[in-house]
């Protein structure tokens, strides 16, 4: 049995009377390539927010590498190896690409606590950031401001920041959202080339992407897990066709 990188047990969340996560039991093995799909409003992003600690669950628990982290803050969970990207870019728009990635690295290494020695003289932080940018072919954009960058490349910076945290679990919330199909393959190539030991959970609407990337798929409907299975099992599942895939084909 492979060790679990991430697990949720009966994780539930209500917004007032509205249940947005209902007793979700979820398992992510080390090095997993897992996709989370479901119709709009199924609670996919909410689920991510519960895992990262951006939201507090109404009940249930979150476990990272076997340890219960439900009571821990977002920051403490990041320290334990959890990183995410956002569906809508959450970048430091007025800062350079390099500064964006340095921000994550400085927090991870603890350099960000220091009030002396300029960040510009911290070669170890800058070199690591440049190496990540190189990996994502963002090297030439290092000194450009985020707001001057095309959207597709901004999406890459989202991933670069997450990598700066050296995650063991990486949560990708629609990494190709808003990117023209012609450019989205760059993003997917990058995601596929990431180190195998990182456990990855991807939220995605594009079924081609899901079936290309994932070895396991969870279908979420109205805050509940409908079914978990391999891509071929999900494709063959009648209920999934009904609530999700079927609807999608009918409407185009």
């Amino acid at each position: 049995m492979t060790a679990l990188a991430l697990e949720t047990r009966a994780l539930s969340k209500n917004f007032g009377a509205l249940p947005v996560a209902q007793a979700i039991d979820f398992r992510l093995a080390s090095g997993a390539r897992h996709a989370l799909i479901g119709p709009n409003g199924a609670g996919k992003t909410t689920f991510i927010n519960l895992i990262t600690g951006a939201l507090k669950p109404s009940s249930g628990s979150v476990h990272l590498a076997g340890a219960d982290v439900t009571a821990l803050s977002q920051a403490a969970r990041v320290k334990r190896g959890i990183a995410r990207t956002f569906q809508i870019n959450q970048l430091y728009r007025g800062l350079s690409v390099l500064e964006n990635v340095c921000m994550a690295i400085a927090e991870r290494t603890g350099a960000a606590r220091a009030m002396f020695r300029p960040i510009g003289r911290r070669g170890e932080v800058i070199d690591e950031a440049l190496a990540i940018l190189e990996l994502l072919s963002l090297g030439d954009d290092a000194d450009r401001l985020i707001r001057e960058l095309p959207y597709g490349r901004q999406r890459l910076v989202e991933i670069a920041i997450a990598l700066g945290l050296k995650p063991r679990v990486l949560l990708l919330d629609e990494p190709a959202a808003g990117v023209p199909t012609a450019e989205s393959h760059v993003l997917l190539d990058v995601i596929e080339s990431l180190p195998a030991e990182i456990a990855m959970l991807i939220i995605e609407h594009d079924m081609d992407v899901v079936f290309r990337f994932a070895r396991e798929i969870t279908v979420l409907v109205a805050g509940e897990v409908l079914v978990v299975g391999t891509p071929s099992e999900i494709a063959a599942n009648e209920r999934v066709r009904e609530v999700y895939l079927g609807k999608k084909t009918r409407h185009g």
Partner: protein
């Protein structure tokens, strides 16, 4: 195509000193010799620069808007003032104590109010300052209440430099303290900690997501800023040998906000432009029209916010950039 070795040059070089940074210091020293009769006013300008610099740390870098920064200025002024009025006239220790007391007040109040944002935070900063003003008003025995605190007598600095009637010592004393505080502020904003404050201002959600202890960082810079404002207040108490309730007033909080908006925030040097500009403007407008000078200030502020949202310093930077482009 940028050469690989040059990548990151922007970040690697940003903290380096540029020749332009010497200009305000040269100007401040030159003013000492050129306008000997204005040294008392000059000291007040320097104090305002320091006060605005402290506000810039939280407003320009961490994005904390305060309408009550006078709280810490006032705490510093009363700490140094009361200390001296009670018989301890040594100035340097007075400054240090003022910084500590104001810093602690900043830490405690910051811890409580910096979980809020926007309008709520704005109102809470205002309330905190007003609360302190009322306390100072009530505690007449210590503060002199409405009449102000009298009986402040300062010893010579280092036992050598006596405060003179013409404000020469006061001016140089304020300039030296400002310089030290500036060096500290500059080190902080270029440090990784300072960079992470910029991150909070730019995108607080992302800052949480990279695992930053956002609240602790905000409280820390708020306390540092408060300590610096406290030093400014203490300088005023020591150089004028008087503390009135206005040190805690809403008007003072507003003044410093106008100064930093006029000068330009988020670049440290905005304070150096804003403070003299505002005080000279105030002085001149009041001479022209003792009744309507505030109207003039308001007008200038509207024009600056509309046409130079990054302040006069931003305007100068844009002009400088255009000049460099043209001359290429």
């Amino acid at each position: 195509m940028i050469g690989i070795a040059e990548r990151g040059a922007f970040l690697r070089h940003r903290h380096r000193l540029s020749w332009a940074e010497s200009v305000p210091w040269i100007a401040a020293v030159a003013a000492f010799f050129l306008f000997p009769s204005y040294e008392t006013l000059g000291a007040q300008v320097l104090i305002m620069v320091l006060f605005a610099l402290s506000l810039d740390l939280i407003l320009g870098y961490a994005g904390i808007i305060s309408l009550g920064h006078a709280a810490f200025f006032g705490i510093g002024a009363y700490t140094a003032g009361i200390l001296s009025a009670q018989g301890w006239g040594e100035p340097i220790s007075g400054l240090v104590l003022a910084a500590i007391v104001a810093g602690i007040a900043g830490f405690i109040s910051g811890w409580a109010i910096l979980r809020t944002t926007g309008l709520t935070l704005l109102m809470l900063t205002l309330c905190f300052a007003e609360l302190l003003r009322e306390i100072a008003n009530e505690q007449e025995h210590y503060t002199g209440g409405d009449d102000g605190l009298r009986g402040i007598r300062m010893d010579p600095i280092f036992g050598v430099f006596e405060f003179d009637l013409f404000g020469e010592t006061a001016y140089l004393y304020c300039l030296a303290v400002l310089f030290i505080m500036f060096v500290v502020a500059r080190a902080i904003v270029h440090s990784p900690f300072g960079q992470s404050l910029t991150g909070i201002r730019e995108n607080i959600r992302r800052m949480h997501a990279v695992g930053a202890p956002v609240h602790l960082k905000l409280v820390t810079i708020y306390a540092i800023s408060a300590a610096m404002a406290g030093v400014a207040g203490a300088l005023l108490a020591q150089t004028t040998e008087y503390v009135g309730l206005t040190v805690l007033s809403f008007i003072r909080s507003g003044d410093v906000l106008i100064v930093i908006i006029l000068g330009g925030f988020g670049r440290l040097y905005g304070a150096f432009i804003g403070a003299p500009l505002y005080m000279v403007l105030q002085d001149q407008l009041a001479k022209q029209s003792p009744e309507y000078w505030l109207f003039g200030i308001g007008l200038v502020l509207v024009v600056v916010v509309m046409f130079a949202p990054r302040g006069v310093l931003g305007l100068l930077e844009d002009l400088g950039a255009r000049f460099r482009r043209d001359s290429r």
